[in-house]
C-alpha cells in the first residue's frame, strides 16, 4: 500500500518536472541567444557577447518603443483599474437582471477574437483620426484590460462580507469613509492583481496594435515582431530576456514581500 503510494508519487513528480520544463524552457531559450556573438538565432549559440544589449540601449527606435509601451501600459492601467473595480462592485451588488447583461457585455473583449476587434477598431479609428495616437492605443487597451480587472476584483469580492459595511455604518462611518476604510483595504489584493493584468495586457498587446501603429508611434511588441520577421537580429532576444527578468523580479516581489505582508496583517490574500 505504502509502496504503491510512493511509486505513484515518483511517477507524478517526474511527470510534473517534464511538464514544467516543456512549458518554461522555450521562454528561457532566448537567454543564451541574447548573449550570442553572431547575428543568428542558432541554438546553442556560438561565443559570448553583450552587443545585442548594447544595440538595444543605443538604438533610439527600440528605446522609444519601450517608452511608448510603458506609457501606454501605465495609462491603460490607470484608467482600466478604477473603471473595472467600480464596475465589478456595482455588478456584484446590483439585484437587477441587467447586471448579468452588463457583466456579459464587459467580458466580451475576452471572448471576441482579438483580430476581429482589431479590424473593427481600425475602420472606426481611421475615420476619427485616432490611428497612431497615444489616446487611441490607451482607449483600445483599456477595453482589453477591463475584463481582466473585473475578474480579478470579482475574485476578491467572493470572500467579501457585506455585513462589514452595515457594521461600519452602525459604528458611525458614512458610505464614503466605509468605502475607503473597509471596502478598499479588503479588495486591495484583487485590485493589485487587476492592475498588473491591465499593464501586462497592454504591454504585450500585438494584434490590435498592428492596426493602430504609425511610423511615428511604435510599441515594443510591434518593433519586436517586425524585427523578427524582417531581419535576423538577436536584439529581440536581449529585449525578451530583459522583460523576462523584470517579470521574475516582479513576481518574486509579490510572492515573497507582498503576500507575507498581507497575511501578517490578516487580510485575505
Amino acid at each position: 500500500m505504502n509502496e504503491s503510494k510512493s511509486s505513484t508519487r515518483i511517477v507524478l513528480s517526474i511527470f510534473a518536472v517534464i511538464t514544467s520544463i516543456w512549458l518554461v524552457a522555450p521562454m528561457f531559450a532566448v537567454v543564451p541567444i541574447s548573449f550570442a556573438e553572431n547575428a543568428s538565432f542558432q541554438f546553442p549559440p556560438q561565443g559570448f557577447s553583450t552587443r545585442w544589449y548594447e544595440s538595444f540601449f543605443s538604438d533610439p527606435s527600440w528605446l522609444r518603443a519601450l517608452g511608448n509601451s510603458a506609457l501606454i501600459g501605465l495609462l491603460a492601467a490607470i484608467v482600466a483599474v478604477p473603471l473595472g473595480t467600480i464596475a465589478a462592485l456595482a455588478i456584484s451588488r446590483s439585484t437587477s437582471r441587467l447586471a448579468n447583461v452588463a457583466q456579459m457585455l464587459m467580458l466580451t473583449p475576452m471572448i471576441v477574437p482579438v483580430i476581429i476587434a482589431g479590424a473593427g477598431v481600425y475602420t472606426f479609428f481611421l475615420q476619427t483620426d485616432l490611428v497612431g495616437t497615444i489616446f487611441g492605443f490607451v482607449f483600445v487597451h483599456v477595453c482589453l484590460a477591463l475584463p481582466l480587472v473585473m475578474i480579478a476584483v470579482n475574485a476578491s469580492l467572493a470572500g467579501y462580507d457585506r455585513s462589514l459595511e452595515l457594521a461600519a455604518a452602525s459604528l458611525g462611518a458614512n458610505p464614503l469613509r466605509t468605502f475607503f476604510t473597509v471596502t478598499v483595504p479588503l479588495i486591495a489584493p484583487g485590485v493589485a492583481a487587476g492592475s498588473v493584468f491591465a499593464f501586462v495586457t497592454s504591454f504585450d498587446e500585438v494584434i490590435v496594435s498592428q492596426f493602430m501603429v504609425s511610423p511615428a508611434l511604435q510599441t515594443l511588441p510591434i518593433v519586436m515582431y517586425s524585427s523578427v520577421t524582417r531581419s535576423t537580429d538577436p536584439t529581440i532576444a536581449a529585449v525578451a530576456t530583459l522583460i523576462l527578468v523584470s517579470v521574475l523580479i516582479g513576481f518574486c516581489f509579490y510572492r515573497f514581500v507582498v503576500v507575507p505582508l498581507s497575511q501578517r496583517r490578516g487580510a485575505k490574500a
Binding site: 455585513s163 457594521a167 461600519a168 452602525s170 458610505p175
Partner: protein, 385 residues
Amino acid sequence: MTAPTPTGITGTTQDSGHGEGEIVKDSNILSLRGLTKRYGDAVALNNVNLDIRRGEYLTFLGPSGSGKTTTLNLIAGFIEPTEGSMLLENKPLEKLQAHERNLGVVFQHYALFPHMTVRANVEYPLKQRKMSKSDRKKAVDKALEVVRLEGYEDRYPRQLSGGQQQRVALARAVVYTPPILLMDEPLGALDKKLREWLQLELRRIHRELGSTFIYVTHDQEEALVLSDRIAVFNEGEIEQIGTPRELYDAPVALFVGRFIGESSIFKGIYADGKVKAADYELQVEGSISTDRAAVLIRPENMQISHPGGGDFTESAVNRIAGEIQDMVYLGPARRYSVITPLGEAIVRVPERVAAAAQIGDKVLVGWDPADAVLLVDTEPAEQVK
C-alpha cells in the same frame, strides 16, 4: 392573515430586572408606531406597535421569517419601513441614515474588520466620532475590560475563537456608549456550552452598562434566561409582549403557549363555559369569543394518578384516562408522556413524589381548571397533536 390579536400591548408589568428591582424603568426610550415592511406583495412586518423601556433587556423571539430581524434592521436603519414611524427619545428616527443613528449593533457572524487588530476594531467608532487619541485609548481599554479581553489588543480577528470574536464585536458596539444595543442572534454561531456562558456574560454586561438591550433570537430558552421582557413575533406581527413569567403562565395566544415552554394542549368546542372534547367535558376558567377552544396545561400543573384517581388533589376536577407512552428521568423530576383520547398529555412530577408508574401503565391525568389557560384555537382544524 392571522386572527386579530392585540399587538404592542405595553401592559403594566412589574420588572424585576436582574436582581436590581430598585431601578425604575418607567420611561420609554424607543417607540415603534404602525411599523410595516412589505417586499412587493409579501408582508415582512405588519403594523407593529411597541414601546421599549429605558434600560430594559428586551428580546424579540420568534421563528425565522416572523419579522423579528426585520424589526431590528428597521431600527438600525439597514432597511427602510414601508409605513410607520420610530421615535428615539421622542425624535423621529427614520429620517436618519444608519450611520447617523448612534445605535450599537452586534451581528450574528461578528462582522469584525479582518484587516484591523482588536484595538483598531474597537477604536473604529471612536475615530468616526473624532475622539482624541488618549480618550480613545482609555475608552478601548475600558470596553475590553468589560468583555474580559484585556491583553488581546494586538491580535487579529482570525487569531481569536468565535466566542472571543463576538466579545470584541460587543466591545466595539458599546465603546461609544450608544443608548440602545441591538443584537441579532449574537450567540447563534457558537456551540451550546459557550453560548450558555456568554448568556451569563451578557446579563452581567447589561447590568454593568445599564443601557437598553434589544436582542433577537429564535431560542426560547435563551430568551427566558436573558430578558426582562420578551416580544413574541409570528408572521410579521407581535403576538404578545411581557415578562418571561407572564408569557409562560398566561399566554394570550396559542402560538405563544406552544413556542414558550412545554405544554399539553387539548382542543375542543367551547360552549356554556365548558370545553367539549372527545367524550369529555372540561371545566375551564374564563371565556373566549369563538367556539374553537384550546386548553393549555403546563407539565408541572398536570397531575398523574393510578386509575382509581387517589393521587389527585381535590381541585383537579378534569380527569382523563390514558396510557403512559414514555418516561424520562430529568434528575430532580420525571417527565411522563401520556397518550389520551384528546392528544398527548405531558406531566412533570418531582422525583421524590413520583408514582411508580411505568411505560404501558393505564393511568389518569388531571388538572385544576385554575391552572389551565383557555385560548382560541387559531390553528388549521386538520392539525392534530
